[in-house]
């Protein structure tokens, strides 16, 4: 099932097991309402493309699920447990790649990954072995013992991905996980995500690159002004909006249609016709 428009709530059922459940979540920063009643149920094995314009409330939702943000109303349950109960145990089941790509870059990949593994409670030896194998498979064996500061953006991104997977989590929150990766690595990661989902992992994927979201997600959730305004798979969204691409759907639903005019205006400013 699918819907477009505000405040109607329907869910796509794929398998019965609900891993994330958000009910009537509202959040305000000062006098600004960032989230205006989010209702969401995510089943095991879904790859969710979580999209929306900047400021729509995407990262606030993700941060809340990771326990970074408090002060919302409504409930968030992960694997059936209300995360507001003060117990951080549920985080053991989550892997996270932050959009800001924060990493302790003065550490080597070896040190960073065993450290993160340690925070998840994996013993050093095991974390190190796993990390090294993943680094090798992803073509980074030579730099395993170099400081992350010397890495390229793509290499860092791979380290972040590895750090989110070391503890074999059930749910992955990935915020722009492909940023900086070269074309071949993108293919690897995309395939990996599909296989992870097939293995029963749930992936919460947030990105501004619509082509990728279109291809890898089997469910797309579009957020605008703190509300879910579309929820369904790509085919369903296409049928309803009569747009061919996710980019078009995105533009139509968020009410952004005059991109050509804007580009035209930019050009004339650059060429100097406007003083």
């Amino acid at each position: 099932m699918v819907f477009l428009g505000k405040r109607s709530v329907l869910h796509v059922r794929m398998s019965s097991e609900v891993v994330i459940s958000i009910r009537d979540m509202k959040m305000r920063y000062g006098d600004q309402l960032v989230l205006n009643g989010i209702n969401l149920e995510v089943q095991r094995g879904q790859i969710i493309g979580y999209i929306g314009p900047n400021g729509a409330g995407k990262s606030t939702t993700i941060k809340a699920m990771l326990g970074l943000v408090t002060g919302y109303t409504g409930t968030i349950q992960i694997m059936g447990v209300d995360i507001a109960n003060g117990d951080v145990e549920y985080k053991r089941k989550i892997g996270y790649v932050p959009e800001t790509a924060e990493i302790y870059e003065t550490l080597t990949a070896a040190e960073y990954l065993t450290f993160v593994g340690g925070l998840y409670g994996i013993n050093e030896e095991r974390a190190s072995r796993k990390a090294q194998s993943l680094m090798t498979v992803l073509g980074l064996e030579d730099v395993y013992n170099s400081r992350i500061a010397s890495y390229s953006k793509g290499m860092r991104q791979k380290v972040l991905l590895i750090s989110s997977l070391l503890h074999n989590p059930d749910i992955l929150f990935l915020d722009e996980p492909l940023s900086g990766l070269d074309a071949n690595s993108v293919i690897i990661v995309k395939d990996l995500l599909a296989q992870l989902a097939a293995a029963g992992k749930t992936i919460f994927y947030s990105s501004h690159i619509m082509e990728v979201v279109e291809k890898i997600s089997n469910r797309i959730i579009l957020l605008n002004h703190g509300e879910i305004v579309a929820d369904g798979n790509f085919e369903q969204l296409k049928n309803i909006s009569h747009e061919k691409s996710l980019e078009g759907i995105f533009g139509q639903i968020t009410g952004f249609l005059d991109h050509q005019e804007i580009a035209q205006e930019c050009l004339s400013i650059i060429l100097g016709s406007v003083t």
């Binding site: 920063y29 000062g30 400021g55 941060k63 990771l66 326990g67 970074l68 943000v69 408090t70 951080v88 145990e89 549920y90 985080k91 053991r92 989550i94 996270y96 932050p98 800001t100 924060e102 990493i103 302790y104 003065t106 550490l107 040190e111 960073y112 450290f115 993160v116 340690g118 925070l119 998840y120 409670g121 400081r147 500061a149 010397s150």
Partner: protein, 548 residues
């Protein structure tokens, strides 16, 4: 990662941490990662020939400077039996140095929001993370305190006996506890009321304010005691209860001196219980502190319109070349906005205002204000130049140093313009305003006759700015990351400080000859013209920093 000695010491207290609800193995891992990172310097993006620096902690290398300062404290501990006075002074100095270091060097550790994303998203409780953060700071505080108080502590054991030494040592632990908790609780309080950018600004001003307040407080402690008649007499007053160094002074007066009184008893109780009470409050509020930190990363969308008209006009007035003007405007905005920069620099502006007055305070006190009029004490205004090397040193650094790639891609013809524009921006925006305030008050104190002298002093300091620039290591403005401390620069700083003395001495000699001051003034005008014309020509750096 290395197994640090500090961590092995910490292991002995494992049960204590576990008793207060902290996941010790996880905390230890976090600390180990942090200490490893501290031991490595952040490589500068711009230095192509990135030297492979050995694992070395920048903070540790600066400790010997503190050791030297610590030696100065020895006489206060051994010289007499007036413990209330002596130990208050000792603790005043210690608290001043430790607290300023805490605020300027470790605020970033306390308020590190990277931890939120990297660590708080893992199964780590807010309490464990909070403790890791606190212990991280405590390790450095302990080192710093040990080095600073080490010499006097040793002297105390020898000269005043075992029990005195032991009390001193325990008081130091208590003092660190006090400083640590006060700072954190203060931040927590601020975090409660503000969010986003406004809060960062507010914290910034609190930090600056605290640093300046401590300099003034440090003066106050000297005034509490009437030192005039050689006999140090304490005049008891209720407000002494708010000066923490006196709490510790009172402790020694009670235990070892025969100076017991109601007041010292009250102060003693404060010394014992305030840090403890604050510690419990701290443990209680720590998880709250962790979630409040999230506010720091919140983005604010509204943007008030700012006018740069005056800045542009000032740049036109000060600079002839276009690139120089551009740099002037840019540097002037950066100096006004970048918090880390303000934090490092604004306290020294406060000192620059305060030092000259502190210097003339004693003669004014003992011989009366009217006696100043005919004296040479106006030369104290040279003390305001202490800010010049500090600011020039700091101008290289920025939190956003990586953005300095812009220098590499933009067609800057003469590097000279970059430096000259930046230094001029500093002179116009920070130095001249401070000097004029100072000069105004000095004119009131010393009479109109000192105006030529103050002009000469100003001209000397402007030449001095160029000299200081030449002496200090040159780097593109805002192009390097802030580091904990640069000990080698401090030595250059000391040499430059000596130069200020030479300049003041020169002016003193000139004033001894009647009329010579005007010739000297003309000489300085010429010197300025030459210095500012050729003083910023930089050759070598071109190849190093901007070359391919």
């Amino acid at each position: 990662m290395k197994d640090f000695i500090s961590l092995r010491i910490l292991d002995r207290f494992r049960t204590v941490f576990e008793a207060v609800g902290c996941d010790y193995p996880i905390m230890r891992k976090i600390l180990q990662a942090k200490l490893t990172m501290d031991s490595r310097r952040v490589p500068t993006i711009l230095s192509r020939n990135a030297r492979r620096a050995p694992d070395r902690n920048g903070f540790l290398t600066s400790l010997w400077v503190y050791l030297f300062m610590g030696v100065i404290l020895i006489p206060f501990v051994v010289m007499g039996r007036n413990y209330l006075f002596q130990m208050s002074v000792v603790f005043g100095i210690l608290m001043f140095l430790v607290m300023t270091s805490m605020i300027s060097d470790f605020s970033t550790v306390l308020l590190d929001i990277r931890d939120r994303i990297i660590i708080a998203t893992k199964p780590v409780t807010g309490r464990t993370l909070g403790f890791a953060r606190a212990i991280h700071v405590v390790i450095y505080l302990t080192l710093l305190t040990t080095v600073l108080a080490g010499p006097s502590l040793l002297a105390a054991f020898i000269a005043q006996g075992f029990w005195f030494g032991l009390t001193f040592a325990l008081s130091l632990v208590w003092m660190d506890l006090l400083i640590m908790t006060v700072t954190t609780l203060l931040y927590l309080g601020i975090l409660n009321f503000f969010d986003g950018e406004r809060m960062k600004d507010f914290i910034n001003y609190v930090q600056i304010g605290l640093s300046i307040a401590m300099v003034i407080g440090y003066q106050v402690i000297g005034r509490v005691f009437d030192v005039v008649k050689l006999r140090v007499v304490l005049r008891p007053a209720w407000w002494q209860a708010v000066i923490p160094p006196m709490w510790f002074g009172a402790l020694f007066a009670e235990l070892f001196g025969r100076q017991s009184s109601n007041l010292t008893m009250i102060l003693l109780v404060l010394a014992l219980f305030v840090p403890l009470a604050l510690f419990f409050a701290y443990v209680r509020f720590m998880p709250a502190f962790e979630t409040r930190l999230e506010k720091l990363s919140a983005t604010t969308t509204h943007s008030p319109t700012t006018k740069h008209g005056w800045r542009r006009n000032l740049a036109r007035l000060a600079c002839r070349r276009r690139d120089e003007r551009t740099m002037f405007e840019f540097a002037s905005i950066m100096m006004g906005r970048e918090r880390e920069f303000k934090l490092k620099v604004y306290p020294s502006l406060g000192f620059a205002i305060a030092f000259p007055f502190i210097l003339i305070f004693n003669p004014a006190w003992s011989q009366g204000l009217h006696s100043l009029g005919s004296s040479h004490w106006y030369l104290a205004i040279y003390m305001s130049s202490v800010m010049i090397p500090t600011v020039l040193m700091t101008l290289r650094y920025s939190g956003q140093y990586k953005a300095a790639w812009i220098y590499q891609v933009s067609p800057i013809e003469h590097l000279e313009d970059v430096f000259k524009g930046t230094v001029k921006a500093f002179v116009y925006q920070l130095f001249l305003p401070v000097y004029f305030i100072e000069g105004l008050v000095f004119t009131v104190l010393f009479g109109i006759r000192v105006i030529p002298d103050l002009t000469v002093a100003l001209l000397s300091m402007l030449v001095y700015a160029v000299i200081a620039f030449r002496f200090l290591r040159k780097g593109l403005p805002f192009s390097e990351p802030f580091q904990l401390a640069q000990p080698s620069e401090r030595i250059v700083g000391l040499i430059l400080l000596a130069l200020v003395g030479v300049m003041a001495g020169l002016q003193f000699l000139v004033t001894l000859m009647s009329g010579a001051i005007y010739w000297y003034m003309i000489f300085l005008v010429l010197a300025n013209m030459i210095a500012w014309r050729i003083g910023f020509r930089v050759k070598g750096i071109n190849a190093v920093r901007l070359g391919a």
